[in-house]
């Protein structure tokens, strides 16, 4: 049992070492991909625009959803107060 466990551990260690050897080294700065064929290269402008637009849209959408939920809670509260007053 101990021998089997030892073998499994060493195998995992070996696999981990192999995976680490294949992983590219960490980098300190940005690396430009300029070796892609032209067909695979994308223009930066639309990506930049999409990124900023997404942030704005998400924030505005979130504010709208909170506003809607607040209105719903307010409506329910008023209805509840009316029912309590009616009793």
């Amino acid at each position: 049992m101990v021998k089997r466990l030892f073998t499994v551990c060493w195998s995992m260690f070996g696999l981990g070492a192999m995976a680490a050897a294949q992983t590219p080294a960490a980098q300190d700065g940005f690396v430009n991909v300029n070796t892609l064929p032209p067909a695979d290269q994308v223009s930066a402008g639309p990506l930049l625009l999409a990124a900023y637009s997404f942030v704005w849209v998400v924030v505005l959408f979130y504010v709208w959803t909170v506003w809607r939920r607040l209105n719903k809670v307010e409506t329910e509260m008023k209805a509840l107060e009316r029912r309590s007053a009616a009793r």
Binding site: P24, A26, D28, L36, L47, L48, E81, R83, S84
Partner: protein, 218 residues
């Protein structure tokens, strides 16, 4: 206090495009690197939201403080929001910089899992039934503990993602715009947190009114 905060946030975000446009270009990546000015602040805001959620969750668990629970639930939702921003802007940048939309390397994978943890928090709160608030609080603490690992993952493991040394070593032409955007995102986080906590408080008040009505009817 709140209206001036909203106005200040709006002014900061209105000024952000000018600050970013005025920042120095990065020589190897070109204009696409300017996603950095929203991408990194979004993650800073997410981490702030997670720490708020985790600390408030701990306070709720150990002191049974309802206000802390409102704060935790609100912060968790905002953490998911900013995480979504980071997880979308990152691949948009990566597509140009790395040639791929996504890679299952340490930083990206851990950030994705962190987002999943807080989506899980929201699902537990919504569908967990009685006791879900305490279960979610435990999840919030667990999520908070993960944040330092996500942050240092680029330094510990070999990853494609830039290391944490990038921000401290930013040049003067980029530093100003970057910290301006960080300040804008932090203000945005505070504004969103304030309105979301208000919603949470009113929901709790409504639940109390329903319970009082049921007790009165009984």
């Amino acid at each position: 206090m709140f209206p001036p905060l909203v106005i200040l946030t709006a002014v900061m975000f209105a000024g952000a495009p000018f600050m970013i446009a005025g920042a120095l270009n990065e020589p190897t990546m070109g204009v696409v690197y300017k996603i950095f000015y929203f991408h990194v602040p979004a993650w800073f805001a997410m981490f702030s939201a997670i720490f708020t959620c985790g600390i408030a969750s701990a306070y709720f668990l150990f002191k049974n403080n309802r206000e802390a629970d409102h704060l935790a639930a609100s912060a968790a939702e905002i953490a998911v929001l900013f995480g979504l921003m980071g997880l979308v802007t990152g691949p948009l940048w990566g597509r140009k910089a790395w040639g791929v939309w996504w890679e299952w390397e340490a930083r990206l994978t851990m950030a994705f899992l962190l987002e999943m943890i807080f989506i899980g928090y929201l699902l537990v709160r919504t569908y967990g039934g009685p006791g879900a608030d305490k279960l979610a609080a435990a999840l919030g603490i667990f999520g908070m503990v993960n944040v330092p690992f996500v942050y240092v993952s680029v330094n510990i493991w070999r990853t494609r993602h830039p290391k944490t040394t990038v921000v401290p070593t930013l040049g003067p032409g980029m530093r100003g715009a970057f910290w301006y955007c960080v300040a804008a995102f932090m203000l945005l986080f505070l504004v969103l947190l304030a309105i979301r906590v208000e919603l949470q408080r009113r929901r709790a008040r409504l639940d109390d009114l329903y319970l009082a009505q049921e007790d009165g009817a009984a």
